[in-house]
């Protein structure tokens, strides 16, 4: 732990003379940035603490890896934050919840009245034997621009053979991205006249290519139509780069020429006091409706870094930031688990995965409009962080709200306090 002095930014007095509440947001991704920009500058003294000043639009990595895209990927976080928000570029090392202080790698300690953990998920390749070696050699499309560019070069050099694509573990940030990846590989090989010389194998730990069944009814026939082989219940145990084989826990194997294996994901490597607010994968144990960190009313968690049972996707971080902003402003608000993930079907069409805690994913017919919306989101994203597009989103989310499951609409579904999602043992 650092011995440097604790910073408290004491000059926090509002225009009206009230003491302003200090809100410390750890993480400058979608959720952290959006929340910072939504807090009342007259009531809150807002600091965003982030290890990097680069803000990446993560969905763009798909197009870097499979279409050699290079524009509109990264922007300077400081330019995305409102002027009243203080930005500190440093890495949080310890979040001490009882003492309301965060220790950092180099700039000291930060005291707060409210903390919001928007720390995201990191890719990790060390949990599975052989994964690190193939990841370094071939690249991936979930960790960084450099890795996505490496994967593009691997694909560009591919002249035929077997491409095996899938996720290393059951947790995947952006659940549609494995399916989108294999469909874009198929398109790329067709464009290059290599499809006839190639075998495409999609492996998944789930019972079907897309885990939510209604959406799978659209996706699986498309994959079959395009000649993509599907291996279900394929949960990666190890990879042998010598024999170019991926072996599953279930005992199946795939021999590849080019492996595209989505790494495992874990929560940010930050120490917590108390240590029991994170689960076995470092995800913050969070009330899925109020977004409070387990046991702390002045601590919230949003985005990919939580254990909330919804998609790890920008949309969740976006909607969760609204909920926390409202709660901090003293208004009641809860998160409903809404997802709204666009899926690129690689034929000019797209669809959306829409569901919530109480509404199952709906089967949404593919359309060119859905694809156009996905592409446009890459541009809207940057301005949406400021909150300027909130009225448009409000209308869209109301129009597309999924219908609750009849048998559950009256019985409120709540997370148990004893065993939040994750492997707690009794």
């Amino acid at each position: 732990m650092t011995t440097k002095a604790t910073r408290s930014f004491p000059s926090s007095v509002s225009f009206a003379g009230d003491i302003m509440k200090r809100v410390l947001i750890v993480g400058g991704g979608t959720g952290g940035t959006m929340l910072a920009n939504h807090l009342d500058r007259h009531k809150f003294d807002v600091t965003v603490l982030s290890a990097s000043s680069e803000h990446m639009f993560q969905p763009s990595l798909l197009y870097v890896a499979f279409a050699n895209a290079s524009a509109n990927i990264v922007r300077d976080e400081r330019r995305l934050l409102s002027r009243h928000v203080r930005f500190v570029q440093d890495k949080a090392t310890l979040v001490d919840l009882p003492n309301r202080v965060v220790a950092t790698e180099s700039s000291g300690r930060y005291a707060y009245d409210f903390i919001v953990l928007a720390t995201g998920a990191d890719t990790v390749t060390s949990q599975i034997a052989g994964l690190d070696e193939i990841n370094k050699r071939f690249g991936d499309y979930h960790s960084s621009v450099a890795q996505a560019q490496k994967l593009w070069r691997s694909l560009d050099a591919f002249q035929g053979g077997t491409i095996a694509l899938g996720q290393a573990t059951p947790i995947c940030v952006c659940p549609p991205s494995p399916v989108e990846g294999i469909l874009l590989v198929d398109r790329l090989l067709r464009q290059k006249g290599l499809r006839e010389k190639s075998r495409l194998v999609f492996f998944t730990p789930y019972p079907r290519p897309y885990p939510a069944e209604p959406m799978n009814e659209i996706i699986e026939p498309i994959m079959k139509e395009r000649g993509i082989e599907i291996m279900t219940f394929f949960d990666v145990d190890r990879i042998d780069p010598e024999t170019r084989t991926i072996i599953s826990i279930e005992g199946d194997s795939i021999t590849y020429d080019l492996p595209i294996v989505i790494p495992a994901f874990i929560g940010a490597k930050i120490a917590f006091e108390p240590a029991n607010v994170i689960d076995a994968d470092h995800f913050v144990i969070t009330d899925k409706e109020t977004l409070h960190v387990k046991g702390f009313n002045n601590a919230f968690a949003i985005g990919d870094g939580t254990n909330i049972p919804t998609s790890k996707a920008g949309i969740a971080a976006h909607l969760e930031s609204y909920v926390v902003a409202k709660q901090l402003a003293g208004k009641p608000a809860t998160f409903d688990g809404r997802t709204n993930c666009p899926v690129d079907l690689a034929d000019g069409r797209g669809t959306f995965v829409i569901g919530s805690f109480t509404a199952p994913v709906v089967k949404k017919r593919p359309s060119r409009m859905a694809h156009l919306m996905k592409i446009m989101m890459g541009y809207f994203y940057w301005i949406s962080l400021s909150g300027i597009l909130d009225p448009m989103f409000e209308v869209y989310f109301a129009m597309t709200k999924p219908k609750p499951r009849p048998e559950l609409s009256s019985a409120k579904v709540r997370q148990t306090k004893v065993t939040p999602r994750g492997a707690s043992r009794e």
């Binding site: 885990p211 109480t358 994913v361 709540r414």
Partner: protein, 80 residues
């Protein structure tokens, strides 16, 4: 069922996407032979998925009960 077997309860209620099978698969990665995993879910699709998962992984379904507000599936890890 042995009283001494580690018994993991996974609360996956409300999970619609990717769904409860994600939690079961994650628990399986961490489990050892002899462990018992209890999965709580609200998605009715969980029943077929748990049975298909157990058949594929050659593990044992102890019970699947629809309790009205939740579906409780209990599986014993016999192969890992």
């Amino acid at each position: 069922m042995s009283e001494l077997a580690p018994h993991t309860i996974i609360d996956s209620r409300g999970s619609s996407c990717p769904g409860p099978i994600l939690d079961l698969a994650m628990a399986y990665r961490r489990a050892k032979v002899g462990d018992v995993v209890e999965l709580w879910a609200t998605d009715p699709g969980v029943k077929a998925d748990v049975r298909a998962w157990a058949a594929k992984t050659k593990n044992e379904v102890v019970s699947i009960d629809d309790k009205g507000d939740k579906i409780v599936s209990v599986v014993r890890i016999v192969r890992r």
